[in-house]
């Protein structure tokens, strides 16, 4: 591979025509588009929950407790006679926001040191890598529980824990891509004509390392959603009166025999959302992957 072809391979995502090509390629993947449509619709429904929910999610009606799905209550009612469908619409807000929170925290912790390690090399790089080794030696959920033990059980603390858990992967990804971009000739050229380091980082390095990040963001949104659901199920995440899908399942265990629909529907909601996020990630990877392959 010659230097010039490497260069086009790396800058290709930054130029507008390449972006259009990438979007066209992504749009051709029906599964990924379906995943994207699902997530967009779900987000809109969650945002519009107060207006589109058929019932008040907190309205108690003790005459209709633990009913199965029916025409008036699509997903049935819970132990206090509250409408499960309406509750799930509101819980979607918590679940989606929590996943977003965790991914943003992971990006904030992982990306800057990854960039620095990739550019600086030497003992800074070495130290950063050993730190991620240590973090990755912990079984993931055990580390989350340990962090929650220190900070106290709450949704924000749980998402800080999940963010810390996910950050080493972002860090390593950033480091690896930064290293390869930093050795490109256009970075050398920029440096030789006297550009400052911060100019090189913001104008040459950053635009070329973000695309692989998007694949990981999409997949990790799914991972974060699963982690939030698991922690809230255990009672370590979302605290009453708030509710996420995972917390709904956790509270319904007592009624598993009488009203399994209380568990079935929130669980399916989690599974489909996570699947949609993974599919988007796969689609992004394929669209990006081919871009790099054809250009280099």
């Amino acid at each position: 591979m010659t230097d010039t072809s490497e260069m086009t391979g790396a800058v290709v995502q930054a130029s507008p025509s390449a972006l259009r090509r990438f979007l066209r390629r992504f749009a051709r993947q029906r599964l990924a588009l379906a995943g994207l449509a699902f997530v967009v619709l779900l987000t809109l429904a969650a945002l519009a929950a107060p207006w589109i929910a058929p019932y008040d999610p907190l309205a108690i009606n003790l005459e209709i407790v633990l009913q199965g799905p029916s025409a008036s209550h699509w997903f049935g009612t819970d132990e206090l006679g509250r409408d499960v469908f309406s509750r799930m619409l509101f819980a979607a807000r918590v679940s989606l926001l929590a996943a977003l929170q965790a991914v943003v925290i992971a990006l904030l912790i992982g990306v800057p040191p990854g960039l620095i390690a990739g550019l600086a090399g030497g003992y800074i790089d070495n130290f950063t890598m050993r730190a991620t080794d240590a973090l990755m030696a912990f079984p993931p959920l055990i580390l989350a529980v340990a962090i929650i033990a220190v900070l106290g059980p709450s949704l924000t603390n749980a998402m800080i824990a999940v963010g810390i858990l996910l950050s080493p992967t972002f860090l390593r990804l950033m480091r690896a891509t930064t290293m390869s971009v930093a050795s490109e000739t256009y970075v050398e050229a920029a440096r030789s004509i006297g550009c400052t380091e911060s100019w090189i980082i913001t104008r040459h390095v950053l635009p070329n390392v973000v695309s692989p990040l998007f694949v990981q963001i999409s997949v990790f949104a799914g991972v974060a959603m699963l982690a939030e659901a698991g922690l809230s199920f255990l009672g370590l995440g979302t605290q009453p009166p708030d509710s996420s899908w995972g917390a709904m399942v956790g509270r319904a265990i007592r009624y598993i025999d009488h009203a399994p629909s209380l568990i079935v529907f929130p669980g399916l909601a989690i599974a489909f959302t996570v699947l949609a996020l993974y599919t988007i990630g796969d689609g992004l990877r394929d669209a990006l992957g081919r871009e790099v392959r054809t250009e280099s």
Binding site: R130, A131, D133, A134, A137, F138, P139, P140, L141, I142, L143, A144, V145, A146, I148, A149, V150, L151, P153, G222, L226, A229, G230, F233, L234, G235, L236, G246, V249, G250, I253, I256, D257, P260, I263, V264, G267, I270, A271, F272, V274, L275, Y278, T279
Partner: protein
């Protein structure tokens, strides 16, 4: 081989030191006075003082870390703030539950993933391949606590084929043990099976296009022996790496699965200890979990040598 293992063990020491420092500093990271916090709001001054003494909070930090580390090396992880039992005693008593759960889960994951991955990977694009791929995607997205509850509902509550909760030690009979561990270990192993299947399928598709496979076929070997001896053995190399990562994830997953099936293991202890604010117990759980995880990864590294002679030490 011996030197290889010795080098690996030596390389673990700095890592374990860093981990021990992180786990120790949990006490330091608790906002406010940990003794007051751990004792609860309406604790007497004596209780707070006792906890302060127990955690050694009156001494300088480095001295405390030194004491703690020396204790750790001797297997002394302190005393539970909740039950006054020795942490290492409680952990040892519960460890077999968690290890048999995680071990059975890995075996189930492999029993699903190896045939599914090989069958799908040798027939890319077929109906079977598509079924396996869809199943693997579902396996990645389904929350394990939900899968566990569904299995418990179907096979323990609606049909009483398995007990819904509890655990029986191996000494009580293999059948007893298996009936208690079947549903939990399937629950725990399912997502690992999905990841391993995807990985193995991809690797098999690649490997089966290699020249040495064509050579093996051309010299008239049975299809089975081409697939297993030449295909699977090469495709297994990346899978072994994933297996190490997955073993780590499975150890974490026991926290949730033990809760679903009411199994008296380490994971259940970890959750209970968060609610009782039993910090020494949580520290013990974390240290033990990391230790087991590091040991598993050592085993994975050693098994590379079997699959890939290139990394075998001379």
């Amino acid at each position: 081989m011996f030197r290889f293992i010795a080098e690996r063990l030596l390389a673990m020491i700095p890592l374990l030191l860093v981990v021990s420092l992180l786990v120790f500093s949990m006490v330091l990271l608790i906002p406010g006075d940990p003794a007051y916090l751990l004792a609860g709001e309406d604790a007497s001054e004596e209780t707070v003082e006792r906890i302060r003494e127990e955690l050694g909070l009156n001494e300088p930090v480095l001295v405390r870390y030194g004491h703690w580390l020396v204790g750790l090396l001797q297997g002394d992880l302190g005393t539970s703030l909740f039950s006054d039992q020795s942490v290492s005693g409680v952990l040892l008593q519960r460890l077999p539950v968690t290890l048999s759960l995680a071990g059975a889960a890995i075996i189930i994951a492999l029993l699903i993933a190896v045939p599914a991955g090989v069958l799908a990977g040798t027939r890319p694009g077929s109906l079977l391949d598509r079924i396996v791929t869809v199943g693997a995607s579902a396996g990645l997205a389904i929350p394990n606590f939900w899968l566990g509850l569904m299995l418990a509902l179907l096979f323990a509550i609606r049909h009483a084929w398995f007990p819904a909760t509890g655990y029986a030690a191996l000494s009580e009979g293999v059948l007893q043990w298996w009936s208690h561990i079947a549903l939990p270990s399937f629950t725990l192993g399912f997502s690992a099976a999905a990841i391993l299947t995807r990985q193995l399928r991809g690797a098999m598709v690649d490997v089966m296009q290699q020249d040495y496979i064509r050579t093996a076929q051309a010299k008239g070997l049975l299809k089975r022996s081409v697939v297993i001896k030449h295909g699977l053995k090469n495709a297994a190399i990346p899978m072994v790496t994933i297996l190490g990562v997955q073993a780590n994830a499975l150890l974490g997953g026991t926290i949730i699965v033990e809760q679903v099936f009411g199994m008296p293991g380490i994971g259940q202890l970890a959750v209970a200890s968060v609610f009782t604010r039993d910090l020494p117990m949580i520290q013990g759980v974390v240290i033990l979990a990391v230790f087991v995880a590091v040991l598993i990864n050592l085993l994975v590294d050693i098994s590379y040598g079997y699959f890939n002679p290139k990394v075998r030490p001379q």
